[in-house]
């Protein structure tokens, strides 16, 4: 036998397929898995939240006072008139605990519901809205977050998502970053869904209080006037709130389908 030095013609120790194919298969596979897990966990959270008693929910909110009260902006108590309006709306909503209303002096066209049982409205919003009905709708929307227990739902989701990602070993920064568009997208979509649902509850509360839904869209009309900033084409998929035009249309549609009337509004004084 004669020895002849020769190199192998093909390297069979490495795969010659393009790594992009493997990458995309893995990314889409893991993403699908994550979405499924998120959906299942969300289902679990919703089921639990729906079965918690009002007293228990109030207890959880109360227990958050110690940890979350620092996050509430420095504020002043709302005028008795505004607090009365809120109390009346709360009474329609069957929430058994009291909700505290404050006004914050920040330049923000917004109102926030804190899980501690506080609602904070920003002065700019109060100045901008011209009718009591308009203000009542914004308050009703924040009350709706308590009625629909959105804080508990989102807290439950965060806790489960964090636990799951830790258990699955996703604590690695890069993986979390790679998958962040997916988690952000699902969180945003869920949040938009909760906002729409809060709008619907608010509309019903407004109708219960005034007997009609006049002024319901005043806040959104105002926002739309102000909203002339350029936003990137897909940003609304990742936004926590639905698009304003969509919210106005949803409210109109819901008002029509439930046979709510629109009557003249009360001017704020």
């Amino acid at each position: 036998m004669e020895y002849k030095a020769k190199l192998p013609s093909r390297n069979s120790n490495v795969s010659h397929a393009t790594p992009i194919k493997e990458f995309s298969t893995l990314v889409f596979g893991v993403a699908a898995l994550l979405l499924l897990v998120y959906w299942l966990l969300g289902f679990l959270v919703d089921y639990t939240v729906d079965h918690i008693s009002d007293e228990h929910a109030a207890e959880i909110y109360h227990s958050l006072n110690n940890v979350a009260s620092e996050q509430i902006p420095a504020d002043t108590a709302a005028s008795p008139r505004l607090q009365t309006l809120l109390d009346q709306l709360v009474a329609h909503s069957d929430i058994p605990y009291r909700i505290q209303l404050s006004v914050a002096d920040a330049e923000q066209m917004n109102a926030v519901a804190f899980p501690t049982g506080h609602i904070v409205v920003f002065q700019e919003l109060l100045d901008g809205l011209s009718t009591e009905n308009g203000i009542a709708f914004v308050l009703a929307h924040e009350i709706a977050h308590f009625k629909n227990r959105d804080h508990l739902r989102s807290m439950g989701r965060s806790v489960l998502l964090m636990t799951a990602s830790m258990l699955l070993g996703f604590s690695d920064n890069d993986v979390m970053q790679m998958l962040s568009p997916i988690t952000n997208f699902s969180i945003a979509q869920y949040s938009q869904q909760r906002e729409s649902s809060a709008d619907a509850t608010a509309l019903i509360l407004l109708n219960q209080h005034y007997g009609h839904i006049g002024g319901a869209t005043e806040f959104f009309d105002l926002l739309q006037e102000k909203d002339n900033e350029l936003s990137f084409a897909f940003s609304h998929y990742f936004a926590s709130h639905p698009q304003i035009q969509q919210r106005i249309e949803q409210l109109q549609h819901l008002g029509d389908s439930m046979g709510f009337e629109i009557k003249p509004t009360i001017t704020k004084n």
Partner: protein
């Protein structure tokens, strides 16, 4: 948004630069292997041929540290979740071993045979999750020299 943009830019840069460098490295490996193809290399403890002709022998070694790019590392991380062949690491190991042997051979010009070749691989940054995966490959052997062909 900015963070995600930076992240995907890094992946794309990692992929393009990584692929280009790998291609270049493989080209160089192929050329140098072809040039050294007639140097008989075995893992046997005894030389092929007559032992009397050997006048001199020495320990030679070739050493290399290679790293993979960002893109391949991410593919490997994802692969670790589901299991299977970690294909994105294959070229890392392959390049490392072949380069180490080439460096070993290049370190002993004039040798007529290389025997007792051993290869050892160790990972650098072992256990450090946030570090890029790189390996060190050490090849060591005995180079034989002779004044006449054996």
């Amino acid at each position: 948004m900015a963070q995600i943009t930076i992240f995907f830019t890094l992946i794309i840069i990692g992929y393009l630069v990584g692929q280009a460098l790998e291609k270049k490295h493989y080209k160089s490996i192929a050329e140098r292997e072809q040039a050294l193809v007639n140097l008989v290399t075995t893992s046997s403890k005894r030389p092929v041929g007559k032992m009397d002709a050997i006048v001199h022998c020495e320990l030679v070694r070739g050493n290399v540290v290679v790293s993979i790019d960002y893109f391949k590392r991410l593919v490997a991380i994802l692969r670790n979740l589901v299991g299977g062949n970690v294909r994105s690491y294959e070229t890392l190991i392959d390049r490392g071993r072949r380069e180490a042997i080439l460096r070993l051979k290049e370190s002993c010009p004039g040798a007529i045979q290389i025997i007792n070749l051993r290869i050892e691989t160790s990972s650098i940054y072992k256990g450090e999750g946030n570090q890029l995966g790189s390996v060190e490959v050490l090849a060591y052997a005995t180079a034989l020299y002779s004044n006449e062909p054996i």
